[in-house]
């Protein structure tokens, strides 16, 4: 089957019932989406499908028709996405394992709502972080929003 991933079309020979996460990681070697729970509860595997954040562990690869964006596809060449840069400026990551998913969730939020307030952030950012980077994630989203609006 064919998947559109980060702007290019990839051929993948997978059981259509295989979760998208494992097709990306084990069959296509795209390691940005992480395995955290397998039940859509933590968001470490978040990818964008047609711009919408989806938990790739809970989407079968056979059901995907839209364009997939993973963390590998958000920067343009050497230039980091504004949200990635904000993550560095606020020194957000600790272990970093959830951050690919967090960044994609934040990009989706800012595309939908360029000026989110704290409640909007709380509502949209449901991904789990065991290191407790939430306060810095919040600051980074505000910083990115400011930058994107400037």
């Amino acid at each position: 089957m064919k998947l559109t991933i980060n702007g290019s079309i990839k051929d993948v020979d997978a059981d259509p019932e295989m979760p998208l996460l494992w097709a990306l990681r084990d069959l296509l070697g795209i390691k940005g989406p992480k395995f955290g729970c397998g039940i859509g509860a933590c968001g470490a595997c978040t990818v964008l499908i047609d711009g919408e954040p989806q938990r790739s562990c809970s989407v079968t690869v056979g059901s995907v028709s839209g364009a997939i964006t993973t963390i590998e596809g958000v920067s343009s060449g050497e230039n980091l996405h504004v949200v990635q840069q904000a993550w560095i400026d606020e020194q957000v990551p600790q272990c970093g394992y959830c951050q690919s998913g967090q960044i994609l969730a934040a990009i989706a939020l800012l595309n939908e709502n360029p000026k989110p307030n704290d409640d909007d952030i709380s509502e949209a950012m449901t991904n789990l972080c065991r290191c407790g980077t939430y306060p810095r994630i919040r600051s980074a989203i505000h910083r990115a929003a400011k930058k994107m609006g400037a």
Binding site: P33, Q91, C95, G96, C98, I103, C129, P135
Partner: protein, 758 residues
């Protein structure tokens, strides 16, 4: 001396045995530099921490597991400061597995003395542990010890390399070495600037000067200032840096499914259905030797992880039972019995608590019983390791906290020599103590024996990870205090029953050694707090429970902090004294402790008029050498608790990187509050009831309070930071709920008795 020896603790006794066997003479001989074996063309090394290429690439080895705590950045900064290079230009690597990177800081903190006790005996024991560390060469990350351990030795490594480069330059230029300076990776002689890379090969042939002098603090350019962490770019671009991302040619994928009755055997299994599933290569019996603590189970080798997961589920297995009580009620009954009648170790026994209570009139006595459940670590990255056994050589790639022990363990498992075994430490998607264990690496190695000389990446499902953890111990405690006629605290007696972590760990890693003596981890956070009370006894009682328990962030402090600081709050209520005032009075011999309590009280505007429906609670814990006071503020919204603010004052002595310290303290607070709000591991029918983030969750963004951290630097001895935010957060929250509602909750998690705003 006999008494002192009897007070030796478990890690110490095991390690001393190893050390004596090793021979004292070895202590003076430094380990070989492990970097010698792996230099690239044109690369030179000066000591186990520095590599420089002739084209001026400078690599610093930070030999501790990076699990989010920023240790790779701070350790590299110690070397870079003395080496005198620009911090942005260096490369940082974890480096090889080697005894040269032993952690003496961790063992020194394991001695059974309070941090502030610096007498002859306690310092002698700490010194002995430094020797033991060097003997046994355990390279490990834990106990919030990395920076303390590295503070002098890694600066010396940078300094010695810098001075050697200067010697090479002096030879080259024919000038006196004292006329040379260094700056940003150059040796400078008047107008001449020579890059370190140009000198590296020559310098590596020289002996470093016999005496070196570290820079005075006033000349620091990097240390003491917040640095950009060296791992940020990889972590915002999704780089494949974690164990679970390891990718090797011809690699196959695997998983395991071990007995849910922890430690129980596997009687039989039927893999006929699973073997026929697409992608499945092999189903393997994972049962180990008779004395192995992990019990039986199966492993799957497949062409992808998902196929392995599905096949593991499809195997039909007959399990043997475990030997602990099948349900949490039964486990609690064992604790209650130990608490009531068990003999214990009183690591604090000041005055005469027994007599002080004997004639106490009833109204002057405060009593309370507390309870905490088992807890899982639930690292974001589930347990995994990749092993490759080929031609009598073994390689293991793993996100781990203990590479030298893992090397020995996996070599034994594979039946190969340690010298033919390499352990590669990747980045860790969380550790929290879980990755100090050996099981995930041993299992990967066991599966690799069946993988036809191909590398096999073994990933656990989240359910396997939660249900086969080495849990934070369950614990039950009874606290008793006597107030005298004036309402001052005259006597304090605490009994704490829990299973011993050290005994459990030894059973897993070294089943042939039998643990004996007191276990400090059962009682830390209670016996070692800087409170002066005339009659003060704290006793730990080992409860015979075989559920595997291990190091969980802050270890014993995570529950004893809750017990002790909740009880201090209860005494304040009974004595009608403000809880800040009560603590300041008890800690009057310890100005560092008073400093953080006063600071946090000011930050939180303690004593200001209470807003209706809100409450503030305070707690203090000294753990891992850091003095930490916190105030939590809650708001009650339609009967549910919302955590609004946390204020924290932390004194770590020398603060090497303020941004990283604040991040760590914040992280520890979220970790502690998460556990208090709703986490518990319970048993039914012999198995763990929870399995994933739907029933073992943690705090989410919307629940996270504003967290305000201030760093003080008055402590005389440097403290750790990775775990120290956790212990006071839990009692401060419980005390805040009491202040807001009048409801005293003595059992964790708090969600058993009160709801939190989702």
């Amino acid at each position: 001396m006999g008494k002192i020896l009897r007070r030796t603790f478990l890690i110490g006794s095991a390690a001393i045995v190893g050390g004596v066997a090793f021979g004292y003479y070895k202590y003076t001989k430094p380990y070989d530099n492990p970097l010698e074996d792996e230099l690239a063309e044109g690369e030179a090394t000066f000591d186990p921490y520095v590599k420089i290429t002739s084209d001026n690439n400078i690599t610093i080895i930070a030999p501790r597991a990076e699990m989010g705590q920023g240790v790779s950045t701070t350790l590299a900064a110690l070397v870079a400061e003395e080496l005198d290079v620009d911090f942005e230009k260096i490369t940082v690597e974890h480096g090889p597995t080697s005894f040269a990177y032993h952690n003496s800081g961790m063992l020194e903190d394991g001695t059974p003395f309070p941090h502030y006790e610096r007498g002859v005996v306690s310092n002698m024991m700490r010194g002995a542990m430094g020797v033991v560390s060097k003997f046994t060469g355990i390279q490990a990350t834990g106990g919030s010890s990395s920076t303390k351990d590295a503070y002098i030795k890694m600066r010396q490594a940078g300094c010695a390399a810098r001075e050697t480069l200067k010697l090479a330059a002096a030879n080259k230029l024919g000038v006196d070495v004292t006329s040379l300076k260094t700056e940003s990776g150059f040796v400078i002689s008047g107008e001449i600037r020579i890059a370190y890379g140009e000198l590296a090969m020559d310098a590596a042939k020289l002996n470093p000067p016999a005496e070196i002098k570290l820079k005075p603090k006033s000349e620091w350019k990097i240390l003491g200032k917040s640095q950009k962490r060296t791992d940020m770019l990889a972590k915002v671009t999704g780089a494949p840096i974690f164990g679970i991302d390891v990718d090797l040619p011809d690699m196959v994928y695997g998983t395991i499914r071990m007995n849910p009755y922890l430690g129980g055997k596997m009687f039989s299994f039927d893999a006929s259905k699973a073997e026929k599933m697409p992608g499945v290569i092999k189903i393997v019996d994972m049962s180990g030797p008779e004395n192995e603590a992990f019990g039986g189970g199966i492993g799957v080798i497949a062409s992808n992880t998902w196929a392995a997961f599905k096949a593991a589920e499809a195997v039909d297995i007959k399990w043997g039972k475990s030997d602990y009580p099948a349900a949490t009620d039964g486990i609690n009954a064992v604790l209650a019995k130990a608490l009531k009648s068990g003999a214990g170790d009183s690591l604090r026994n000041d005055g005469d608590a027994e007599t002080a209570f004997a004639d106490a009139p009833r109204p002057s006595v405060v009593e309370a019983e507390y309870y905490v459940p088992y807890l899982a670590h639930a690292c974001m990255e589930p347990m995994n390791a990749t092993a490759w056994l080929k031609g009598g050589k073994l390689q293991v790639w793993a996100p781990n906290q203990s590479p030298t022990i893992i090397r020995a363990d996996c070599a034994y498992e594979a039946g190969v020599e340690e010298k033919d075994t390499r352990v590669h430490t990747t980045f860790l998607g969380g550790g929290f103590g879980r990755r100090a264990e050996v099981d995930f690496c041993r299992f990967a190695t066991r599966l690799a024996k069946h993988a036809d000389e191909k590398p096999v990446k073994v990933t656990w499902t989240r359910e396997e990870d939660i249900r086969h953890d080495t849990y934070r111990p369950v614990a039950m405690a009874k606290f008793k205090a006597r107030l005298d006629e004036k309402g001052t605290l005259a006597a304090f007696d605490a009994r704490i029953a829990s299973p011993s972590i050290i005994a459990s760990l030894m059973g897993r890693a070294f089943p042939s050694l039998s643990p004996a003596g007191p276990d400090r981890t059962m009682i830390e956070g209670a016996f070692d707090q800087p409170y002066t009370i005339a009659n003060h006894r704290v006793t730990a009682i080992k409860a015979p429970l075989s559920v595997p328990v291990g190091f969980w962030r802050a270890v014993g402090n995570s529950f004893n902090g809750f017990f002790n600081e909740s009880f201090i709050d209860e005494i304040a209520v009974k004595a009608k004294i403000d809880p800040v005032e009560l603590r300041l009075g008890l800690m009057k011999d310890h100005p560092t402790a008073m400093g953080v309590v006063k600071k946090v009280a000011a930050m939180a505007d303690w004593g200001a008029e209470t807003i209706e429906g809100r409450g503030k609670g305070i707690a203090f814990t000294l753990s891992f050498g850091a003095w930490v006071a916190q105030v939590v503020e809650v708001s009650i919204i339609e009967g549910e608790v919302k955590i609004k603010n946390v204020w924290c004052a932390v004194d770590v002595g020398e603060a090497l990187d303020p941004s990283i310290i604040k991040a760590q303290v914040m992280s520890g607070i979220v970790f502690g509050l998460s556990s208090a709000m709703g986490q518990e591991i319970t048993f039914a029918d012999g198995a763990v009831e929870q399995g994933n983030f739907d029933d073992f969750d943690a705090m989410r963004m919307g629940q996270c309070p504003n967290i305000h951290v201030e760093i003080l630097q008055d402590a005389e001895i440097m403290g750790g930071v990775g775990e120290v935010g956790t212990p006071p957060s839990i009692p401060a929250l419980a005390n805040a709920i009491y202040a807001a509602t009048g409801k005293r909750i003595r059992t964790m998690p708090l969600s058993r008795e009160i709801d939190f705003v989702a």
